[in-house]
Amino acid sequence: MAGGLVTTVHTYDAVIVGAGGAGLRAAIEASDRVRTAVISKLYPTRSHTGTAQGGVCAALANVEEDYPEWHAFDTVKGGDYLVDQPEAAVMCEEAPRDIYELEHWGLPFNRTPDGKIDQRRFGGHTRNHGEAPVKRACYAADRTGHMILQTLYQQCVKRNVRFFNEFYVLDLLMNEGRAAGVVAYELATGELHVFRAKSVMFATGGSGRMFKVSSNAHTLTGDAPAIAYRHGIPLEDMEFFQFHPTGVYKMGILLSEAVRGEGGILLNSEEERFMERYAPTVKDLAPRDLISRAIFQEIKEGRGIGPGRDGVWLDVRHLPREVIEEKLPDVTEFARLYLSVEPTTELVPIQPTAHYAMGGIPTDVDGLCVTGPDSVAVPGLYSAGECACVSVHGANRLGTNSLLDIVVFGRRGGKHMAEWSRTVDLPPLPDDPEGFTRGLVDPILARTEGVPPVEIRDRLQETMYDLAFVVRSAEGLTKMKGILDELKRQYEQVVIQDKGRMYNTDLMEAVELGFLLDNAEPLVVAALAREESRGGHYREDFPNRNDENWLKHSLAYRDEDGSVRLEWKPVKLGPYVPMERKY
């Protein structure tokens, strides 16, 4: 027994890990059908969905002419053609249904004068295949994610969904190739809990904390991808990470793309609106990858701002004051509070920030995990949201499509796992189900000397920011791979001060660091292998997209010896033939 404590065994039909938008949406669907538990290392309302600001896109055509097909085209083009097109079509066609459902559940969207859900512009979303920006983003001020998270949690309260809050899932249980449950560490007591289940869904969110400058919460440490990877499940397209152009200078806190949707512009040190040169049609509303690269180019050519000349300005001084105060209140407050800048009269310093993992656990449109080039299903294992890869975001996610992803695929996954769970028996537990977890936790607790987590984490974040960020090269990535090998060796000697059982957040952070390392390594290895530039992955030594060789998804497996092995999976094409991406 771990530390002399008993292990409790629970039995459910469906177990959902993570209580952000995807997990809660799945829980609503599953709990109506089967015995469901939601396990989260946080309280549900602390989840990072709540920080999403700008909006959630659906072709409602409430303000302007619009069609789901236009939305699907933008999603595919925005993803630099690495998107699986049938999956993107599903998401965009079902988007209006899911937005209306959120409204029916009470989500307080902003309204048009005639009482419909209001919509605004967002980067990369256009009318008629790129003609001009279109008003497609449904929003609630700049608190859309907060409202989605609250609304979904409220619906879970209404349905009396069973939550295990502050339970940290550390392992997946498998039985003969089928998901059989999870093992969780209860933060309040240090006890282990085995959850037997017919189906398991991972919805643990992002992994942005592997970078020094990130918009992500401290708790976004790639938990589920690392757990899956340790069980031989591949991670898809890990080299594609989104660097959002407008993070608060030096801090990384997100300043929503809605700022530019409402008319904000970017300026370099000469106060030139440089996006006019890079994207003449949509300018400051180009997709995020293009803008982040443009900012790096401006910085490289000496037109950056700040003491390190490593940022640019965001300018909203020309916007009507009521737009700033009423449609962008939180963003305005971030600038005032964290930068002491008054955005109505002053330029706001920004720089690109690590924001979103396009890659993750490979799934089909029902959230079912699929492995290998032929997409073979892992029965009972599901994933949804940022930790999953459907793939609807391809090489670069469009703004607002993450909130859409979590409601569409959370719903589909929750429904599928529940219906499947009704038809099957409970799989037997493997022998010594919590053995692996004890092997993870006990040595960290027992060790009395070694390397503190902060040393390893600081070095990981700084070097990933220097070598695997917006601009990459073979030289830098090779160096990064060497550093990761070193950090992994150091991690084997990680030592913490807190040896107690109650709320041992020292231990939790050490485990999170291990998960981050297991996200960073597949990212770096796949980025080194992909000798082209596409979406969020830019190689200065291979600056062009190369469809002939690289129009394919990467699958990173952990081999027996701990090294990364890559396979490749074809992209599912459709009506949109890959073409040069101009905006």
Binding site: R46, G50, Y100, R111, K250, I253, P307
Partner: protein, 254 residues
């Protein structure tokens, strides 16, 4: 964070991009850990931080470089997730929404009051969420869903805007002297949650919620001390919402 480099000339208003020199901050933190002793105690730590760093960064500095046993909750670090409510120099704040320059050279950090302390700055949130869950915190619409959205005018939407901002951090409820003394009182955050639905034109359960709030555990426990409004990191007019509900109950009008 980059220090300023004297060789590079900058604009006259460097304030926007520079963080200045590190300053000294002496943190006095109330500790509690029932695994090692029965009573609480005070620890003091001296850290060097930039003026624009958050108090949360200073607490991390303590945890990561001085004492790994310090337990606190936090996640997003920019005042949206509501995890890191603590009492700072006697006032309830989010640690990520207090800047070092506001409190240096010394400040006192304690767990929020009125909820059982479990370890250091971590309190038991279950009684708080029990209050929230007791007020039917979800939309109860008319039967039958339309194909599209339920219409709502911008004015009707604006009616309850303020109380939609709540992040359930508990700063308000745990600043309320009535809540400290009366475990039955639902507290201001639960009342804010009820307000958000009662004044939503799409909702049909206002009478049920008003009945819950008119019970002895409800709004009439409030003695209008305004602590909740002062404590709210989202600038919600909490006391005003409570007063509106009192009037709605007394005059059966909403």
């Amino acid at each position: 964070m980059a220090e300023s480099s004297p060789g590079v000339p900058e604009r006259s208003d460097d304030r926007r991009t520079e963080n200045g020199q590190k300053v000294s901050l002496r943190l006095r933190i109330r500790r509690y850990n029932p695994e090692i002793r029965e009573d609480s105690w005070w620890d003091e730590f001296e850290v060097r931080m930039l003026p624009n760093d958050r108090l949360l960064d200073a607490l991390h500095e303590v945890k990561w470089r001085h004492d790994g046993t310090l337990a606190l909750r936090r996640s997003c670090a920019h005042a949206i997730c509501g995890s890191d409510a603590v009492t700072v120099n006697g006032r309830n704040r989010l640690a990520c929404k207090v800047l070092v320059k506001e409190v240096a050279p010394r400040c006192t950090v304690e767990p929020i009051r009125g909820l059982p302390v479990l370890k250091d700055l971590i309190v038991d949130m279950e009684p708080f969420f029990d209050g929230y869950r007791s007020v039917l915190p979800y939309l109860v619409p008319e039967e039958g869903e339309p194909d599209k959205e339920r219409p709502q005018s911008p004015e009707d939407r604006h009616r309850f805007d303020d109380t939609t901002k709540c992040i359930l951090c508990a700063c308000c409820t745990t600043s309320c002297p009535i809540f400290w003394g009366d475990e039955g009182y639902v507290g201001p955050a639960a009342i804010v949650a009820a307000h958000r639905f009662i004044y939503d034109s799409r909702d049909r359960a206002a009478q049920d919620r008003l009945q819950i709030l008119s019970a002895k555990t409800g709004v009439f426990r409030c003695r209008t001390t305004f602590n909740c409004t002062e404590a709210c990191p989202r600038s919600i007019q909490v006391t005003k919402a409570v007063q509106e509900l009192k009037r709605s109950i007394l005059f059966d009008r909403f």
